[in-house]
Symmetry: C2
Subunit: 290 residues, 2 copies
């Protein structure tokens, strides 16, 4: 009985949609508590239980989005995932997007640019990776690498990366104008939590392939990366393409949070099941005769 009441009372106290937007001038990444679970009342097991229900909701909403596209409306959702190494981007894809029909997800990983990609404008490969209508696109890393690694490792001159914040905002404005709802998620973990997660990879032969010595190099550059993230959050969190800063030491929290952010994005689209574009009674009669 006690357990039932507790379960019923668990869940979101305040929606993460309202809690996790960084306010320019106020939000400070250096002060972020990566072990916090803002807005969620309940335990890990409450969250795991809630994931199942909400996963069904997300599945249905994506199907509606797809049906909407079949009916001729050109809409899509784009989830941009950024974060430190081992922050849990892969887990989001597996556990949150894994609840959606695989037909409905467009997954685009952004690795080190190829030599062809480097010869083009940095948004060239991004345009090509935008989700198809009716789909939820996931950028696993994204064009934001061009103001993160490019800035920290000085891959381009400062005037180039400085100009990119504006270019990104204009690009995302166009994408949103064309009917794609953009949700940007930045995942952060503490340096201790990151050390532990990387150590796990080095101690499990099934995970060796997930580790790269570059992950440790990047750890050593964390202060510079943190500054680059702070600038990015200050400059590119817009009304049409807001950032959400997700404390990610607790994997269950980051997963249930991104689940809710996606559900909220889809619900904001007021999707409805398309009506029949044919005469239903006539088709039933034809079908029964056939």
């Amino acid at each position: 009985m006690g357990a039932r009441i507790e379960a019923a009372a668990s869940g979101w106290d305040v929606s993460p949609v309202h809690l996790l937007r960084p306010i320019p001038g106020i939000f400070s990444l250096a002060d972020l508590d990566t072990s916090a679970t803002p807005g969620f009342v309940g335990s890990k097991s409450d969250a795991v239980r809630l994931m199942q229900d909400r996963g069904k909701r997300l599945h249905t909403l994506q199907e509606k989005l797809y049906a909407d596209a079949v009916a001729g409306n050109g809409r899509a959702v784009l989830l941009v995932l950024q974060g430190m190494d081992a922050a849990g981007k892969g887990g989001i894809i597996r556990h949150v997007l894994g609840t959606v029909n695989p037909e409905g997800v467009d997954h685009a990983p952004f690795g080190v640019p190829s030599s062809e990609e480097r010869q083009h404008h940095f948004l060239w490969r991004v345009h090509k990776a935008l989700p198809r209508l009716g789909h939820i696109g996931v950028f696993d890393r994204s064009h934001y690498e061009d103001v993160l690694v490019a800035r920290v490792r000085r891959l381009v001159p400062e005037e180039v990366w400085q100009g990119r914040y504006c270019e990104i905002n204009e690009f995302e404005d166009q994408v949103a104008d064309q009917g794609t709802v953009i949700v940007k998620v930045a995942m952060f973990i503490s340096l201790d939590e990151q050390r532990q997660r990387l150590l796990d990879r080095l101690q499990d032969p099934h995970k060796y392939w997930k580790f790269s010595p570059r992950d440790v190099d990047d750890r050593l550059l964390w202060p510079a990366y943190r500054d680059a993230y702070q600038a990015l959050l200050d400059k590119t969190s817009t009304e049409v393409a807001p950032w959400y800063v997700v404390p990610s030491d607790h994997k269950w929290y980051s997963r249930i949070t991104v689940m809710e952010l996606l559900i909220a994005a889809l619900e904001s689209m007021n999707l409805s099941w398309p009506s029949a574009s044919y005469d239903i009674d006539e088709e039933i009669a034809r079908l029964e005769r056939s």
Copy 2:
């Protein structure tokens, strides 16, 4: 106790890999019992239970395939799905591929060719849709439409579609040579079962969008489609790219069957977890210092 013994004894009597290949000159689609469940001993609930276990196996195998690609081996799996309208292709994608990490699946639907696609060779769009290395690609319909609808509806002259069987075999030979294991699945249901499934779509406002009057038109052309399927199975089931004919009146049977075919394909690749490409002890020491 009785139930436990029954459950333990349920499963595959003979693997579908050995049972479902159509033997040219012997296999006759007109004689296929679409309600059969060849090789499976057990009930629907046994199959649903087995799906969960086997889904985990498929998930792990795909992760190994991905790790193998990261380590520099260029391999992939391609599942080609063909079948009558409402035969359950979508359910295969949702329930079988849905057990795999969404990062690991490349879904390619083949609809009516665009005007650009029609100006190219029929395999042009197929080349572009081949799975990325380390991925399981799913063709939802495929290049086989070019010897099915193209033949039945006379979209091209006979000498054109007649030449395509050979072109397809050569194309698939090349794809297999490059390290992609091909599994081709043809799903068939009875005309009564199809009528019922289409009727369901016409009677549920959430499903109106899945129905097209063309589905009834195609039913009326079934004898011609059956001949086209028979020719395709006779001419394009090769050693490197075999067809499996899956009776699909029972959705649970078609799903557990395709699950097993994919697992067998991945197991035939003898995948192993890649060894570390760096000095593990050195990296642990660097990580602990960082």
